[in-house]
């Protein structure tokens, strides 16, 4: 409690100090006094946080603000710099904003690396004129009416950010001058998003442009250091969506990121760094981020899993799911925690998703079809394991079995095609793939490798037999010669 009273007291004191400073400045700042009569800029500057903190016009423009002689005040000898242009603008701001001691002098605890970040950003690197970079501090913060970021009047206050960015990013003609391919509908899409709609209602917490892209250090999407580079998107979204305290009041779960990291998509992206794997924005959209509705789930998944979506749409399940208002893919595969589709999902066991709706007494046709489908897959698995074992054995025995080994690719393919074909929920079509394309090849490979192994033993036993016969012959010859020699010796 004492601490809070102390902070309030300090703030009141500081406020009084800076108000007094502004009053003093107003009375003896010749730049302000003169320009006040002209209106415009001085009126704006009156509300400026810098003016409030006692910084004179000379702080940015140079010159002698104490002199009422215009020629003297705005002379080069007095250090008058005039209106900064191009990259000079940001450098003038950095004169104070990049210096910690200077910022502390005015009671500010703002970071002092903004210019550094801006220089490394896409805005600080690109130029349309070749002279100055496309964005200066004033582009977003304004020049004379700069107010605190926390003030709703600031162009970079969360509610105003989309329009501030949109000044350039929604201007097709301007954007074309440096990237003709870039989209200019981000703000329009944002306004359709959940974030954008809440933002429009006056809630400053939901994400706006800077929440995902950063503010001073905005980098191109393809830049691996960008917050919105494919690999970084899940973590960027999770900064808010995994923060239970921040999300309190929005009535949505905060375990999406944790689930995603365990999912097949998350592992592919975050562990294998496969940037073609879906991140949050692949299903929810980026600027127009919104949860896919029941009817559009399959379309969203179908952008990548096109065959599965097509087969499902023409299957009997389509109507049943529509009737029960079940989200098509999500019902069996879940949403954020999508696990690899193994055969355990198929069939009538407890783990199988089919058994959620089909039992021996309810929706029985599906129950028996699921059971048969699973049996086909199990048979193929058993046959594949046996075939691979025999091929390996034949290979190790030095037999030529490469053709059978090559054909086993078809078994692998049949298993993958079966994972797609299962979405037709048609037993005949499924059987054609599993049995017709997979099991037949696997069985042929078993026969071929068994024949190769049998041939191996035939040849080897033959070799042993021939060695024995040859040895016996040699021994017999030896004994026969010895006998002849003994006979000859006895004759002598």
């Amino acid at each position: 409690m004492k601490k809070i009273i102390f902070i309030i007291f300090t703030l009141v004191l500081l406020n009084g100090y800076f108000s007094l400073k502004a009053q003093t400045l107003k009375s003896d700042d010749q730049c302000y006094l003169c320009h006040e009569q002209l209106g415009g800029v001085a009126d704006l500057f009156k509300k400026d946080i810098h003016f409030q903190k006692g910084i004179s016009c000379a702080g940015c423009h140079g010159g002698n603000s104490k002199s009422d002689d215009m020629l003297e005040a705005m002379s080069k000898a007095s250090g008058y710099l005039g209106v900064p242009k191009g990259d000079d603008i940001s450098l003038r701001c950095a004169n104070c904003h990049a210096k910690k001691e200077m910022m502390q002098k005015y009671g500010s605890h703002l970071p002092t690396n903004q210019l550094e970040l801006l220089k490394a950003s896409v805005h600080g690197k690109l130029s349309t004129t070749g002279k100055e970079k496309i964005v200066q501090c004033t582009t977003c913060h304004n020049a004379h009416g700069i107010v605190s970021v926390k003030s709703p009047a600031s162009p970079v206050y969360p509610l105003n950010v989309p329009n501030t960015c949109g000044k350039c990013h929604s201007n097709a003609k301007f954007m074309q001058t440096y990237n003709p391919k870039i989209a200019v509908d981000q703000v329009a899409k944002y306004r359709t998003s959940v974030h954008g709609m809440l933002n429009a209602k006056g809630d400053p917490k939901p994400a706006e442009c800077a929440s995902c892209h950063g503010s001073h250090g905005i980098r191109a999407v393809a830049d691996t250091k960008s917050q919105v580079y494919a690999l970084n998107i899940p973590e960027t979204c999770s900064t808010c969506h995994s923060d239970a305290q921040y999300m309190a009041g929005y009535k949505i779960p905060t375990d999406q990121f944790a689930k995603y990291t365990r999912s097949v998509h998350g592992k592919q992206l975050l562990e294998k760094h496969d940037i073609s794997a879906p991140a949050c924005n692949s299903c929810h959209g980026n600027h127009g981020a919104t949860p896919p509705e029941v009817a559009s789930v399959s379309k969203v998944c179908g952008t990548c899993h096109a065959l599965n979506a097509d087969l499902f749409s023409s299957s009997p399940h389509k109507q049943a799911f529509d009737k029960a208002k079940l989200p098509e893919c999500e019902t069996c595969h879940s949403n954020h925690e999508i696990m690899p589709a193994t055969k355990a999902m198929l069939g009538v066991s407890k783990e199988a998703v089919c058994s959620k709706c089909h039992t021996e007494t309810k929706s029985t046709k599906g129950y028996f079809v699921a059971q048969k489908m699973r049996n086909y897959v199990d048979s193929l698995d058993v046959s594949e394991v046996l075939a691979l074992k025999l091929i390996n054995e034949a290979e190790q025995k030095g037999m030529e079995i490469s053709e059978a080994k090559f054909k086993m690719r078809d078994v692998h393919q049949a298993k993958l095609e079966a994972r797609t074909m299962v979405h037709s929920f048609n037993e005949e079509k499924f059987k054609e793939v599993v049995v017709g394309k997979g099991l037949s090849v696997s069985k042929a490979a078993v026969t071929e490798s068994q024949a190769a192994i049998a041939d191996y033993f035939f040849r080897r036993y033959g070799l042993v037999l021939s060695i024995l016969i040859t040895s016996l012959l040699a021994l017999t010859l030896y004994m026969y010669i010895k006998k002849i020699e003994e006979k000859q010796a006895s004759k002598l």
Binding site: D274, I275, S276, A277, C304, H305, A306, L307, N308, Q396, K397, G398, S402, K405, F406, R409, D410, H412, Q413, L416, E417, R419, T420, R460, L463, I467
Partner: protein, 148 residues
Amino acid sequence: MSDLDSNQNRRSFLKYLLSTSLVGFLASVLYPIVSYLNPPKQNEVEVSSVLAGKISDFEKDSGKIVRFGNKPVIVVRTEKGDFKALSAVCTHLDCTVQYKKELGLIWCACHNGKYDLSGKNVSGPPPRPLDPYTVTLQGENIFVSKKA
């Protein structure tokens, strides 16, 4: 030591020498035979070039899978009559791709992955392009080899 003892020692030494030599001889004969009967594990033979067929085997706007060692390679004859050879192993989950005439593309039946005729992945889940192979025409024969 008597002469008899000395003779016996010499004889037993010779017997020992003879039996050791015999064991050595048998081992040197039997080892290759046993090794032959139980061959060591061996790597697959590396293939550098294969005969894919004759030009007349390929109609224009068609494709054919050929074996390249233990990997499939797809040889496509374009509408213009040019030959292209690419790895037929889909970069998504290792299915075997095929030429889809109506699309003029290489297509994977497993998950609808599509590649253009230079092997670039253009649609669907494949994360990267198909590996290219070199096609060499020698008279009527078409040879496919690995790109250097």
